[in-house]
Amino acid sequence: MRRIEKIVAAGAVVFVLMQLVPMSRSNPPITQDVAAPSQVESILRRGCYDCHSNETRWPWYAHVAPVSWLVIRDVNHGRQHLNFSTWDKYADDPETAIRKLRNIDKVMHNGTMPRWYYLPEHSQARLSDGDRELLEDWILQAIAAEEKREQSQP
């Protein structure tokens, strides 16, 4: 066997072995979805929910290693930092909810979200100026509501 054929064969074996590494692609239960107007919810769903909710749409390449490892890592990290499907877990501490909302505003404005490598396959996630304006209005209202709720707590 020529050298190049050996390399290709070894690569194929490694590729097959990578597929055997067990990885979890789960969508845990939704405990409480974030409250948002329908237009804002639509933007969040197409731009954020795949990584920041328990309603991830797992594409075909999320089942093919090693790309699947990166996808799963991004989803797990995304859910850890912000999860729209478990908004009740921030409810006991309004300041945390406010912090999450301010972070959404920050990453939306500085362009770090959605991730650049997410957009080629998910062009609908790209935010227009109108989208950003709607999101910002909602964020400001949501922060005000949380501040009011915090003041009413003992």
Partner: protein, 138 residues
């Protein structure tokens, strides 16, 4: 919790005054000494119990102190986080679903729900080189 402890101490002091009024001088001295010791111990126990529901975490010298502590499971917790450093920190915990900025020289109170028994890790998201800490609910 602190209000309840203070109310209990007041009740004990009232009982002490009534007992002293009804006894002779010698017995008064002995009784005061015994009851004062009892009240002191009760007050200490109450205060300790009150602190359990409001633990305190301090960030100083580039690390959290204490790095690990216990809390009662099944009881809402008001965690006080104090930043004695010279830069803002972000107290964050994925397991607790908490993310709060603490400015230098300031303190915040983080509301935690009733925790199931187990370990919950926290860290400073502004300084990843800082070792993470652990809260054990038991």
């Amino acid at each position: 919790m602190a209000y309840r402890a203070a109310s209990q101490l007041l009740q004990l002091r009232i009982i002490l005054i009534i007992i002293i009024f009804m006894m002779s001088m010698t017995r008064k001295i002995v009784t005061v000494a015994l009851v004062a010791g009892f009240v002191g111990m009760a007050g200490f126990a109450s205060a300790s119990h009150a602190d359990d529901a409001q633990p305190q975490l301090t960030f100083a010298n580039g690390r959290f102190e204490p790095a690990a502590f216990n809390v009662a499971a099944g009881t809402p917790i008001r965690l006080k986080v104090m930043n004695n450093g010279d830069a803002p920190i972000e107290f964050e915990s994925f397991e607790l679903n908490r993310e709060r900025v603490v400015q230098p020289g300031r303190s915040i109170t983080v509301q935690l729900p009733k925790l199931d028994p187990g370990q919950y890790h926290f860290f400073d998201d502004f300084h990843h080189e800082v070792a993470q800490g652990t809260i054990t609910a038991q």
